[in-house]
């Protein structure tokens, strides 16, 4: 081999892992936990028992579900710049929701059931949107291009997994109780969920067949992580929707997805913005600070606010909880819808971070504390 030919050989490169932390932790956070929990409950035959699951999810809600809402508010309201960037979302939407909340307390049987109903319809839509986002994020991090029509198939599949059970439950007229409030059924035609069921499976076959063909014919292997959020969401709503025990955990799984990514974003943004040197000390310190704020914020939004509203208005705590958390969550849906746009560089760029970027071993390809996984190639 001549020196010239040696020079022409490309140097060994280090392909970065698509994971924020490592394969296992990312897998658990973006959907693996839900798959494991569902299979465990199913195999143990415990999927119909909700009492223990309810207690367990109730215990976890304050450290996982509530903080995830708080994390959104923190992201929007923690700096004046962000508020100035999104003034309509930061100021006008809370005012509008405030009116809806006052209306709900004022007309508890007239406004409140419809306001809460909207929130309940919106919530799984929001889950679906996040599942699409997380899937696309991991595809991008792995350098795998999802074609436009594959993306469309994915979107149809994920949103159909939500629409099938939601519409099915709305085919009846029987009012559904929610925190003691009687919510009206919509009385939808039965063909609507059936139509979406066909669309769901059609889109799934299209998506899988397309990626399968690319893997077979073009050797474009889709990353493992790309399959996890769609698989998890399918389990949340289709087989898991029939399991009362599993159902109680679904908001936690959704929150887990969110918290990992929001945490990574927070670490990277703060580091870049404040010119902080990457270090494990920074990561742990910021994690504790950010986590603490969001746990406290979650308790404020989901316990203190309803308690105060109940005390001020004389309504029951259950009613106040239902109304207040509806407003809090609709606000969350709005904020999430505008601040997490992957198409924007200011969002996409920090989301390409890996823990090594903020821990202080950038480019070394080594492991720190067992956290980092980088895959050397050729």
């Amino acid at each position: 081999m001549t020196p010239q030919s040696i020079l022409s050989i490309p140097p060994p490169t280090v392909r970065k892992s698509p994971y924020f932390i490592n394969g296992f932790v990312d897998f658990i956070c973006i959907g693996g936990a839900s798959i494991i929990v569902y299979l465990t409950l199913y195999l143990l035959g415990k999927d119909g028992e909700s009492a223990t699951a309810f207690s367990l999810s109730g215990a976890l809600v304050a450290i996982c579900n509530w903080p995830h809402f708080s994390a959104t508010s923190y992201r929007l309201y923690s700096s004046k710049d962000t508020i100035r960037q999104y003034p309509m979302t930061a100021i006008l939407i809370p005012i509008l929701l405030g009116f809806a909340l006052v209306g709900s307390f004022w007309y508890p049987t007239f406004i409140a059931p419809y306001f809460i109903k909207i929130f309940l319809l919106w919530s799984p839509y929001h889950y679906s949107g996040q599942s699409v986002g997380v899937t696309m994020l991991y595809a991008r991090r792995a350098g795998f291009k999802v074609e436009s029509w594959e993306r469309q198939a994915l979107v149809v599949f994920l949103f159909s997994t939500y629409l099938v059970p939601t519409f099915l439950s709305e085919t009846g007229l029987q009012a559904a109780p929610y925190y003691g409030i009687s919510l009206p059924g919509l009385g939808l035609p039965l063909w609507l969920p059936i139509l979406f069921r066909w669309m769901m499976y059609g889109a799934l076959v299209t998506f899988v067949a397309s990626l399968g063909w690319r893997a077979f014919a073009k050797r474009e292997i889709p990353p493992f992580a790309l399959w996890i959020p769609p698989a998890a969401q399918f389990i949340w709503f289709i087989p898991g929707g029939m399991s009362p025990a599993f159902n109680t955990f679904v908001p936690l799984f959704h929150s887990l997805q969110y918290l990992m990514i929001a945490w990574a974003m927070q670490l990277k943004e703060k580091l870049d913005r404040d010119g902080i040197q990457p270090s494990p000390r920074y990561v742990w310190g910021e994690t504790i600070r950010w986590g603490g704020i969001n746990i406290a914020g979650g308790a404020l939004l989901f316990y203190v606010f309803p308690l105060t509203a109940s005390w001020v208005t004389g309504r029951t705590f259950a009613f106040a909880t239902a109304a207040v958390i509806s407003a809090v969550q609709v606000h969350h849906f709005f904020v999430d819808g505008v601040i997490w746009r992957l198409k924007r560089k200011s969002v996409a760029s920090p989301l390409m971070m890996r823990l090594s970027d903020v821990m202080g071993d950038v480019g070394t390809g080594t492991r720190i504390s067992g956290f980092i996984e980088q895959v050397p190639t050729s």
Binding site: Q85, T89, F99, T109, Y114, K117, F167, S182, R315
Partner: protein
Amino acid sequence: MNKSRVEGLRVASGSISFTGFMSFLFLSILSNTTTRASSPESQLAVAQLPVTRGAIARSSTERVVFHTQVGDLVFALFPDSAPKTVAQFLKLVKAGVYNSTHFYRIEPGFILQTANAEDRLIPLTPVQKALIENIPDEFSTSLHHVPGVLSMAHGDTPNSGQTSFSILLGNAPHLDGKYTVFGKLIFGQRTLANLISVPRDAENLPKVNLQIQHAFGVDSGTNLLSLGLVDGAPMPPEMLAAISAAMTLPVLWSGPLGPCLLLGIFGLALFFLSSRIDPRSIASLGLLAVLVAGFLIFVNAVPIAQHNRILGGALALGWIGIFRLMGHFESPRNLE
């Protein structure tokens, strides 16, 4: 202004402007009627209906159940505030006077009123007739005409109430001191929604017979669930047919849905036409108009949609579209 407060949100929803809606809610907040929760009924999803300012009125130990074709209504009574009215009402209920009488007047946002017992389907027996007598007015400074309360009707002269009474569907402070508040609805929110969703003529008379099939009293300690009460039963076919026949586009358009639809279309147009203008505040305001219109349509149309599945499907899919639109609510402003 006063009219808005009286007729409630269904009328407010007729207002085309977002500002009007906000003003309505704001005025409601400023109004001097304060809502308080009723005491919870055991094991039932009790409608939390407002009753008094300050203290919660003590209700009697007896409840009255009205069984209708479209579900049950349960009333608690206020013997402390209106002892004579409550005593007479209970006496008439126990004598079967309200059996086969009907609701004859529907004004959404205001009242749902029963007919006089003399007009009921099965003629009153002489004994029942003999029990009906004029009831003196009993006004209370602490009880107000707010949604859910029962208000005894009377003729042009005071102290002339007999059998007809109203269930309030909205705030009506102008009725305070003129009509006796003697009870409240504690169960039957969906039944009430069914009753007020039927088509009515220009004089607010229902086009179908809303008969009270059976009225009876029960002790408050009775587990109401054990009575098999239904909050919002499926409507009988003839009633559904009447509703479907009444749901013509002109009817929908002339009601509150028309202005709401206009507001939504206006908002959509504003959004699409201004989405390329920077900053996108105008586009965001357009989407807000869509959101408010969508909500008002939802509030008004769900009771109708429950009996018109195509409309129900359109509502559900419409909201999915709104959720999707809200993802474009705002783009970040360039702070440079």
